[in-house]
């Protein structure tokens, strides 16, 4: 059996009476991109700090690459790379000097450093600008360089804390592309903190959703969609009258029905619901149908639904 890259058991951390991470139990297999989804202040950054052995847990335990975070933090940091909340680049130094410093930190030889710097900077399209001071660069370029820095020593596992936060859509997409290619070519395990759900949907093989320190759900995006989000259907056409909508809402196979600008959106009761009888009922009621499209809830909808469910539970408690 392959050893988990990360295994946390009831990992808990309090700050002055506030529980930042609450009994987190998690197992992440090696070689995947794991997305840790949560709103600001949900406990994502504290989790990274705990897993890197930078913070002591209040209770519970975690192993990263087989090492205990409480007692073997040095061994973990030796084998991991981290891009934390800020890029952590020395802005007065050049891009090359930044990478050279971290290459030395991980004791790469001069030849290895030179080759690796060239390889990584070429990969992110910054090799020609390696002699420039990082302080003059855009945030997107800095984040690309920071990712190159994280990978300089070929780590087994990397932690990325919202790498695309604050980037414009173009820079964000470019960084995501670079990240995807680099991760594929390097074969590393990635623990990705993000609240950018399309990003997680595109990159991650597994995701965990955290709210106020508690892990609400974990699994592949598809499984979470099946477990949490209801399947949807979108019908384009004319004649979606209030009576037709009322009739649809009364059906047991439809959870909700909304019409706007010639577009009818249906939330289906479950995956097994067939569209043919619904379409037949609509035609019979006088609707003219042009297109029927069936889809699944997006990760964003799953995320929001999990958040709502937990909020309701919290109020009930």
């Amino acid at each position: 059996m392959t050893e988990a890259a990360i295994r946390a058991t009831k990992l808990t951390r309090d700050f002055a009476g506030v529980r930042a991470v609450d009994a987190l139990t998690l197992e992440i297999p090696p070689g995947i991109i794991f997305g840790f989804l949560g709103a600001n202040g949900a406990g994502k950054t504290t989790t990274i700090n705990l897993l890197l052995g930078l913070l002591e847990p209040t209770a519970g335990q975690a192993q990263v690459l087989g090492f205990d975070t409480r007692t073997q933090g040095n061994a973990i940091r030796e084998r991991c790379g981290a891009l934390l909340e800020f890029s952590g680049l020395y802005e007065r130094l050049t891009a090359e000097d930044n990478l050279d410093f971290y290459g030395r930190v991980w004791r790469l030889s001069a030849a290895e450093r030179q080759a690796r710097i060239k390889e990584l900077l070429t990969h992110v399209g910054l090799y020609d600008r390696r002699k420039e001071r990082v302080g003059t660069w855009s945030r997107g370029m800095k984040q690309k360089l920071a990712i190159a820095r994280v990978l300089i020593h070929r780590p087994t596992l990397i932690f990325l804390d919202e790498p695309t936060a604050g980037l414009d859509p173009v820079a964000s997409a470019a960084l995501r592309d670079d990240l995807e290619r680099l991760v594929a070519s390097e074969g590393v395990t990635v623990f990705l903190n993000t609240h950018n759900l399309p990003e997680a949907e595109r990159l991650c093989q597994q995701v965990g959703v955290i709210r106020t320190g508690k892990l609400l759900a974990v699994g592949s995006p598809d499984i979470l969609r099946q477990q949490t989000g209801r399947p949807e259907a979108e019908i384009t056409g004319d004649g979606f009258t209030p009576e037709t909508l009322a009739a649809l809402r009364a059906r047991p196979d439809i959870a909700s029905a909304e019409a706007q600008n010639g577009r009818l959106t249906l939330e289906l009761a479950d995956q097994r619901v067939r569209m043919a009888p619904i379409v037949a009922a609509l035609v019979e009621a006088g609707a003219q149908i042009e297109e029927v499209r069936r889809g699944q809830a997006s990760l964003e909808e799953v995320f929001l639904s999990l958040m709502d469910e937990d909020r309701v539970k919290e109020v009930a408690r």
């Binding site: 934390l84 800020f86 952590g88 007065r92 130094l93 971290y102 030395r104 930190v105 420039e132 001071r133």
Partner: protein
């Protein structure tokens, strides 16, 4: 550990050389201009006025081993500790494989070596300028230099003062909310060290003042050597105590929360 300390020292020196201001270009050599300016002003003006008399006064000892290291290091050390935290590069450094001690000793090592080198280089420039001064027109020829005990005292005090300023700077920076405040606190400390003894001396009765100055002037070689040893011992004890406190304060779990 030694390799890691050296790695941090190299990074620190690169940052000193790059300097705090300006942007663009290769990023090298900006920081060194300000330091050269200070060394130049201090090392040229004073010996030019005194000529070879410089080697018989305590001025080089005070300027090169106390004043200059403090002046140069108060900014650099605050920037190295508080600045790294303020620019959010410290978290990344703490998340690396470097130990707390390697980071701390690397930063200390870079600052101490820098302050020490500045003091010694300034003393050497002063020696050259003192020999070239027009004040020496009637004096004997040949290259004059500091007496051996003075040269030794400059080297030792410059080292110990640099270590003291680095330790104080580290502790002040760890407590200060930002770099500016840390630098301000260090500057106040500097002013206090320079001016408080002078002010205190002014308020002493004239008789006591005269007696104090007379004692300083008439001190024998043995008394001077004893005073030197006592001062060195005090500085070493202070350095060790402050270094130990810095070691206790500079810890990952504490820093990551600051």
């Amino acid at each position: 550990m030694i390799t890691d300390i050296w790695t941090v020292m190299l990074k620190e020196w690169r940052e000193y050389l790059a300097g705090a201001s300006g942007s663009g270009g290769s990023g090298r050599g900006r920081g060194v201009v300000g330091v050269l300016l200070i060394i130049g002003l201090i090392s040229i003006f004073l010996p030019l006025q005194l000529g070879r008399e410089l080697f018989t006064t305590a001025a080089p000892l005070i300027v090169d081993s106390l004043f200059l290291p403090y002046l140069i290091l108060q900014t650099i050390v605050a920037d190295s500790f508080a600045g790294e935290r303020e620019r959010h590069t410290l978290e990344t450094l703490l998340a690396s494989r470097l130990s707390d001690r390697a980071i701390l000793f690397g930063k200390f090592g870079a600052a101490v070596a820098y302050g020490w080198a500045v003091g010694i280089i300034a003393a050497l420039i002063q020696a050259v300028v003192a020999n070239l001064s027009p004040k020496n027109a009637t004096a004997g020829s040949g290259f004059a230099f500091y007496p051996a005990n003075m040269a030794f005292a400059i080297v030792v005090f410059a080292l110990l003062t640099s270590l003291l300023v680095s330790s104080i700077g580290c502790l002040v920076s760890l407590r200060a909310p930002n770099t500016r405040q840390a630098q301000l606190n260090m500057s106040f400390g500097f002013l206090a060290v320079v001016f408080v003894p002078v002010i205190v001396l002014q308020f002493l009765p004239h008789q006591t003042q005269r007696a104090f100055l007379a004692a300083l002037n008439s001190a024998s070689a043995t008394q001077t050597a004893q005073t030197f040893l006592v001062l060195v011992a005090i500085l070493i004890v202070l350095d060790v105590v402050l270094l130990l406190i810095s070691l206790a304060r500079f810890q990952r779990a504490r820093l990551i929360l600051s």
